[in-house]
Subunit: 437 residues, 2 copies
């Protein structure tokens, strides 16, 4: 599962050569952050650290990688031994997996000789981006689900294999209870959840025959899909067949129609028949808006199977993460662009009562510092939390989030205050850069 060092932009390697060629080995710091939150997001959840750490610990160019790089015919021979010996020997500071973050807050800082720190850019962004994007979307679903169970059903339309795995991971991190993705279950120990498809029901001569076949296969564990033909009739039929076979019905699934009304009818029918333990699962085009509506209307739904709209973060399918040089040697750096402010220097974020404080790393303040050392000399200095631990931490953070930020219908801003020292440094550099021109 290791990520190839070639999974990067070519310019990371051309710059690597240019740094090497010019003997440029000064210590540099890069920070990964976003200047603003995406549409429809009042907060973001940091995720993806395990892949970052794994990548930097194992980063090296194989002979095959080097052969390919040389086949491009843009690199002189003097680079060859350098590539062979390349390792990451720097430090990584990071927020905790499952941390909540806001605009301008570094989630990761890399400190290393500049040629090393630069090279990590593309891969780190790629992995943190998809993980944080989906955790942030899933958290919105979690906060409106009113304690109902949530399952990730998105694999068929995630953007490829790695996204499928990261979506299962990140939705679980942000409060989901399971996934349909078997591989993710194997990799992370996430509970895997499965029902049955319309095609199975239709492969038999009648719904009754299909129900019999499925209940025969899973006498105590079957979740029957009841909406293939007529939903109410489907529920009655499921009850009848289960009773005839003398087996338990673990659940029924509704994938279409007016699920609020249908779930109420289904609950009554199930309860009347004594199937009070039978769960009602709803799926089909769900996102936080639809789930909030279903919950608000009092539908007796036990769990939701959530797919494409969360698995692609459809309303905001990317976060504008950037990876910026903030210091080289002792010189703090910032890039000035019209309308794109960034803060220079190595920074820290203090989580205080009702606000975050963005400071220079050297400052001391009250509150909890969010960035901590995770990699030193290229190796992890502490064990990362398990996914279960990270999930607990994430849910604890979500429970403390001000209610207006959890409102999925309106924009709210959490105050990220900039320390006096950092603001003064910004102004000083701004003045210098303006005078230079």
């Amino acid at each position: 599962m290791g990520i190839s060092p070639l999974l990067t932009d070519l310019y990371e390697i051309t710059m690597l050569y240019a740094y090497f060629k010019n003997g440029k080995t000064e210590e540099a710091s890069f920070e990964l952050f976003t200047r603003e939150l995406p549409k429809n997001r009042n907060y973001l959840i940091f995720a993806g650290l395990p892949w970052v750490v794994e990548f930097v610990e194992n980063l090296h160019f194989s002979n095959e990688d080097i052969d390919y790089i040389y086949s491009l015919k843009i690199f002189p021979d003097d680079f060859l031994d350098f590539l062979k010996g390349f390792r990451f020997t720097g430090k990584i500071y990071s927020m905790k997996e499952g941390e909540i973050f806001f605009q301008n807050e570094p989630v990761i800082r890399v400190e290393a000789p500049i040629y090393q720190a630069q090279l990590l850019e593309t891969t780190l962004m790629n992995q943190v981006h998809i993980s944080s994007l989906i955790a942030s979307k899933a958290a919105r679903v979690y906060t409106v689900s009113g304690g109902r169970k949530l399952a990730d059903f998105s694999l068929r339309r995630t953007h490829g294999v790695d996204a499928g795995i990261k979506v299962a991971y990140s939705t679980y991190l942000a409060g989901f209870d399971g996934t349909s993705n078997v591989l993710a279950g194997k990799l992370f120990g996430i509970p895997v959840i499965g029902t049955v498809a319309h095609s199975f029901i239709m492969a038999f001569n009648s719904e009754e025959e299909a129900f019999r076949a499925y209940l025969k296969a899973f006498p105590e564990k079957a979740v029957l899909l009841v909406d293939t033909y007529d939903t109410v009739e489907g529920v009655k039929r499921a009850i009848r067949v289960a009773k005839e076979l003398g087996v338990k019905l673990k659940g029924i699934r509704l994938d279409s129609g007016d699920v609020v009304k249908l779930s109420k009818v289904a609950r009554e029918l199930l309860d009347e028949a004594g199937f009070t333990d039978c769960k009602i699962i709803v799926s089909g085009g769900l996102d936080e808006y639809r789930i909030a509506q279903i919950v608000r209307e009092g539908a007796p739904v036990d769990s939701f199977g959530v797919g494409t709209k969360v698995g692609t973060s459809a309303d905001s399918p990317y976060i504008d993460f950037v990876y910026k040089l903030v210091q080289i040697g002792n010189r703090p750096i910032m890039k000035m662009s019209p309308g794109k402010k960034m803060y220079p220097g190595k920074k820290q974020v203090f989580r205080q009562e009702g606000q975050d404080l963005l400071t220079l790393e050297s400052e001391k303040h009250t509150g909890k510092p969010l960035l901590e050392l995770v990699v030193k000399d290229g190796k992890r200095v502490k064990n990362l939390p398990t996914l279960t631990e990270a999930r607990e931490y994430c849910l604890e953070n979500l429970s403390k989030l001000p209610p207006q930020l959890k409102d999925i219908y309106s924009k709210a801003y959490y105050p990220v205050v900039v320390s006096k020292e950092l603001e003064e440094l910004y102004e000083k550099l701004e003045k210098e850069l303006t005078e230079d021109q």
Copy 2:
């Protein structure tokens, strides 16, 4: 790079067991299609076939996979040997890689014993979805680019590793000229393209020093990023430094500001200095709308570096692909849902003059049939086209597309006509299903 058979929804495996348990081995046909095109798409491009074929040819459960499946404690022991011996032995009919398709048209049909055909659902959808999604978005960029070169720069914000690779592949298929993704270059032979980042420029004490360092590393091949401080000054400085060093300037890149105006100024300055071969590359938040505008305004841009908005298909980040049972044994099947029409039976698509004709497989018509046999007895029956060949085919298809479909600003519908025979079968089944209730 093989895809694990566990990269699937659990219900594919529970259904596999239920089919097995009930001795259900009838030949079934499933078709992969979308009932409607996404927002802002007048046509779609089929892509992803190489991964489909590779997956089905190699599909088997390893001992480790089986151990995990059994650890779930939902499958009885009688399934064990069946899983060990599982192989795909059926047929796959598919559109050609790079084919244009529309609503209701099957892009793939799987014919196999039902337990096998069912199992492919999630993985096939996952791989065809991301590949076709991105090819379809990239085609819109290609058709407005007016012959300018296009490069995929999206890796940092694609949804993970596999998406990064598929985006490079699919954008190239649909007319891009290269990618920044080195691994995709290695895997597919796509030309890889790279310039230099702002952080490199800022890592030196001055822009001039940075330009010198980069030109020293790549005397004849350097593309300099000129907008870090003041763009016009940056262009002048690039010219001056290149002249002083007596080297060629391959290109300059503009990543911010009024690129139409700046590219005109840059072109004049470069031409005056005799750097008429120096290319102007523009990047930064580009999509088909922005590129069409830049082209319309006559900016002398030679190539565009296109990132996040194309790499995530941001305006329409998913296609509603479904994989539906259409026939079992000799019985054609369709699922009726309110507002969700589908056509039953094994189908073919004929591309005729100005329209597509959707028919039953058995019908004969004029026009080019789009579905062809690619896998038989679980193995490919013909070599798939190379990416270069598929790209040529795709671009040929795009060149024949009616202009109103290529208009990125308005919705246009290509006629997909349903044959009399298929429509009659639909009506017959509709009647039967309605009477059943």
